[in-house]
Amino acid sequence: MNQEIYAKLTEIIKPYLPEDVDAASIAKDSHLVNDLNINSTHLVDIVLDVEDAFDITIEDDELDNMETVAASIALIEQKSENK
């Protein structure tokens, strides 16, 4: 797993965590909605922040590939390579 992407992604996710979820609970197999309790509409904000941070474009049908931290990293890696 790409540690650089992981670190960057963690920073992006942090502000969207509910108050009662600690940033330390972000792990690579975390499901953003089910495990981290992130509001599903905030997923869109995370995706938009990811697009800006990594200079990539996520398509509508790729949102489902960003449900977990690990899946998001894989998608970001793939998108970054094909830039």
């Binding site: 509001n39 509409t41 997923l43 869109v44 995706v47 938009l48 509508d60 949102l63």
Partner: protein
């Protein structure tokens, strides 16, 4: 799409339609007006012997013009009908109130699109009274998608 066609496609009706006219619309913004008639039922209770438009109703008006009407316009080429095959929900707002709105006041709402992606519409919305004073201002988000 005409301004009236946007209003006709709104999924609200009396007593919960808070849009009279759409005055301007583009892919980036929308403007509209509404007059709060003094016969509205909520004035009987908010407040007792001192009718003031409830803040939650002002938010609803801002949402109906600034998010839903704009969303209907942005989806004009798509087969989306909020009365049949699609739904809308406010998911977030972060606002400040500056002035009260009394019965029979006319307000205008201006909304600037931040983004509409993955079915989420986010906009900066402001409400002004007839004197041009800012009544309420904030960021609104909602989900508008096929049901």
């Amino acid at each position: 799409m005409t301004h009236q066609e946007i209003i006709d496609k709104l999924p609200y009706t009396q007593p919960f339609l808070f849009v009279d006219t759409i005055t301007e619309v583009s892919d980036k913004h929308i403007k509209g007006d509404y007059t709060f008639v003094d016969t509205a039922d909520f004035y009987r209770g908010h407040f007792e012997n001192f009718p003031v438009t409830p803040g939650v109703i002002l938010l609803e008006c801002m949402m109906q013009i600034g998010l839903v009407s704009l969303g209907i316009y942005l989806l004009r080429e798509k087969n989306i009908d909020l009365k049949n095959n699609a739904s809308v929900a406010m998911t977030e707002n972060n606002v400040q109130f500056f002035k009260p709105v009394f019965p029979n006041e006319k307000v205008s709402v201006k909304s600037e699109l931040e983004y509409f992606r993955f079915h989420k519409l986010k906009a900066k919305v402001k409400m002004f009274n007839q004197a041009g004073e800012l009544v309420c201002s904030g960021i609104f988000s909602g989900i508008l998608k096929p049901s």
